[in-house]
Symmetry: C2
Subunit: 319 residues, 2 copies
């Protein structure tokens, strides 16, 4: 605690630390932890998939059909922090600290997740480093930062669990590992409510998947979206089966195998990764069509249909 | 509340209801809910897999290596009840009730899970039916029962959340859907601590799986056990790869495909289901061997080795 009180005196003595969030401070532990994380080239992507995975697991869309954490029970929101702590530990292969959640670069560090970014700091964290994490699924954004917990960074009031929050001022001294970084999109959350309602009220799991593929064209549909809509483990199979149902409507459901990637690529569409699907309405066009991407399938040329173009059955695609 | 007070008077008036756990009562709602559940032929197996799945998901062995709920944090233990509620709803395709967790056969019913079987009953449950569930992973056993919550079945004291417990006497009036039923085994929990330590300290994920397959022979190793030991998603691949590592030690790792089922069956061993493995040390025996099950592999006869029999490489098995 000697270190803590010294710094407290400095601050009390009118020598505020610069709040630029840089690492140019005297806190070697903080610097080393920050450097350790920044040593990961895929740092943002790794945290992004950690938060996506944690949110999806607690939502448990396959069983509950939920895709918005606003619908979580209080116990589930509390547990979300624990899940993030676990998934982060596994995602970076971190060891447990002796007192705190992790040991990183030889330093103890506590994991704190908050949906809103108002982290609840426990008394035990005093003097320790905290990995501050928050994720906003509606904005598809997340923040990760590191701070040393000292008396002067905390608000005075404590809740019944003895926890308090970081002062507005001290937020400026958080060293950010990721700021407003890109959280992998929650597709269903990005749809208008009317579309979600249409999908939900379509009937069976297969019919809901069919409706999803009618409503959401041209952008990849991930596994979690499929199992949440189908409310079945085999949501991906339902997407494959939808090919047969949507054939007459001219809607092709591209996957990651056989001719699918080639077709997506030729049409200038994102190529579906394994476990994702891309729904698209095709229209037959003249062989000498110009000005729009076309692809040859079974001897004919096809383009992504525009509104008003005729509906034709999907040609035979080696999916 | 009229109904409740009437019954309370009856009890207070010295006319206790029989506590035999039968359904021969005047409670039609309870009878109908019990009948609805009992209408499922696979009722016990279904609840068993619901509890196994819930425990395994909260333990999250793949990420944490944990297999004993004693090691869960408080938030995780609380969440376990929510997980059971969700998995039960999905497992029986139940609808939400207007006030309680489920609607079953037209009646509201609240889900209550307790590791210890001391269910915490909230005030809101008064007058309603409760689905009481508990699972003991150490004993591989679970209980499921239904009770109507009335003032006289509850203890007087309440905890800070306003919850209380069912009286010892009233436990006799629980209608059991499953009593001391068989919870799918938690393999790692059933091993001696020394064996667990040996597996854990074996080194890499592959080495830990190899050690598991050395230590646990003749009984199926399920997917969750494999991912918990490997602490990797591809725990099953590690089991397949172990064949190569354990070949010289005479240990065959049977799966569910090709010649594996035939070999397991001929040797009188359980035939591995999909996603499970069976480890066994084989020894070459004379063609006219009698008194022990043998199987012919590549022209030679093999039996399950007994202690002291020579170690020979595993023959070529079409796994």
């Amino acid at each position: 605690m000697g270190d803590t009180s010294t710094l407290f005196e400095l601050v009390a003595g009118g020598t505020p630390r610069p709040g630029q969030g840089g690492t140019g401070s005297v806190d070697q532990g903080l610097d080393e932890v920050v450097a350790w994380f920044r040593g990961h080239e895929d740092l943002e992507a790794r945290f992004g998939s950690i938060f996506r995975q944690s949110l999806d697991e607690v939502l448990d869309g396959q069983r509950t059909g939920r895709f918005d954490i606003a619908g979580l029970a209080k116990t589930e929101k509390t547990y979300l922090g624990t899940k993030v702590e676990i998934v982060t530990r596994a995602g970076f292969e971190l060891h447990y600290g002796a007192k705190m959640d992790y040991e990183v670069a030889g330093h103890e560090i506590d994991a704190k997740f908050s949906i809103t970014g108002t982290w609840a700091i426990p008394t035990e964290a005093m003097g320790h480093l905290c990995l501050l994490m928050s994720a906003d699924d509606h904005k598809s954004a997340f923040d990760v930062g590191v701070i040393r917990i000292r008396p002067e960074v905390l608000n005075r009031g404590r809740n019944k669990d003895g926890k308090t929050t970081i002062t507005k001022q001290a937020r400026g001294s958080i060293v950010w590992l990721a700021r407003n970084a890109s959280l992998p999109r929650n597709l269903l959350l990005s749809l208008p409510q009317s579309t979600v309602d249409r999908i939900r009220s379509a009937g069976s799991g297969q019919q809901r998947i069919n409706e999803l593929l009618r409503c959401v064209q041209g952008c990849p549909i991930d596994r979690n979206t499929a199992v949440t809509v189908a409310q079945q483990k085999d949501g991906l199979k339902r997407c494959r089966d939808a090919r047969r149902h949507l054939r007459k409507e001219g809607i092709a459901v591209l996957g990651h195998q056989n001719d699918s990637p080639k077709i997506a690529s030729a049409l200038g569409l994102p190529v579906p990764e394994k476990g994702t699907f891309l729904s698209i309405r095709l229209v037959k066009v003249a062989d000498d069509t110009d000005g729009r991407p076309v692809v040859e399938i079974s001897g004919d040329h096809y383009a992504v249909s525009r509104p008003g173009e005729p509906v034709e059955p999907v040609p035979d695609i080696r999916y």
